[in-house]
Symmetry: C2
Subunit: 190 residues, 2 copies
Amino acid sequence: MKESLKNYFNKYINLSDEEIEIIYQNTDVTKLNKKEFLLKEGKICESKYFLIEGLVRFFEIDNNGNENINQFGIENWWITDLDSFINETPSRQSVQALEKTIVLQISKSNLEKLYISIPKLERAFRIITENMLIAIQRKDEVYMKKTSKDRYYNLVEKIPDFTQRVPQYMIASYLNITPEYLSEIRKKSN
Amino acid sequence: MKESLKNYFNKYINLSDEEIEIIYQNTDVTKLNKKEFLLKEGKICESKYFLIEGLVRFFEIDNNGNENINQFGIENWWITDLDSFINETPSRQSVQALEKTIVLQISKSNLEKLYISIPKLERAFRIITENMLIAIQRKDEVYMKKTSKDRYYNLVEKIPDFTQRVPQYMIASYLNITPEYLSEIRKKSN
DNA sequence: GAATCTACTTAAGATATATTAAGAAATGAT
DNA sequence: ATCATTTCTTAATATATCTTAAGTAGATTC
């Protein structure tokens, strides 16, 4: 676990073993079973969660009572409702485990302490956040302008095992189409 | 100009006048007339541009030769194709002034120097990038899941003067609808 | 000031996607 | 293994949005 953290941060900055130790001391391990929640709509997102193993989904309930998935999270990603975390406002979305999931949790106050004791972390998170921004912009290129079919094949190509790990109706929700229509798209592709 | 920069950064970190001066020494002022380009598709985005005054659009040309606007930039925003800037890959989009525009330009190498001489800047850009990420996520909530009509009214509500400053066909492009359909939406609203 | 261009509108027909409802298949519980 | 529940598929119909084409008005050019 400490090893994962070390490997991860070393992609961005050089940290001594003591520094890794300090970071690790400021985290908690949380284990979730399938269907358990990391964050519930309406609550303030108090921590950043570094996903060690497993799979989660971000979703919200729309006016018609439908679940709308807008993000999945996998290994080595930070799981946070950033809006809620930064501005300390109630989260509009929930985060739920789709598989047995292990996360390392850093509370906001611990993170602020870490930024002070290990200022290099500012740099790491500056870079990490930039990369997240790039990722979301790339996603937008596909999801804003392309047809449902293109979005589906884009997803299959980029994360092939998703179609195994995630029920189809959730993929449909993530792609912003109805499960019925996804079914048609898949049929036509044969 | 230096004043703008100072006010801006002071929202995130405390900078002395000397530090502001150092930052300012590492920027260039660029003035653009309407229709001039800050960045052209295929070129590497070599600088971050801080928009002092004016209005720009980000767009790309799709397979059918249509311009696709995916972002506007206004005062106090950083104008960058981050993917191109960070990874030094050719930009897939162009950035063009829609009005007389003034930007402060920081080259990548100058920015790296500044991160070293004024480490607090890491913190500033960490926070700025987080805020950009939050903004893009909020935009996604509207643009991924809502109908064309809702997207239009959301834009009108959030940036009312846009409908004056930007031609309607560009707004349609930004909203991912055809100008004809936007025309219909507007008609129905009366 | 006429001619040309550009942005905007209107309307008819076409297409992509949603909705509804029903049945089939898979999964989980007893 | 059986039953119940959840997920997936199929098909008919409905709706949102696009495409094409034509027309109008304002801006720009000669």
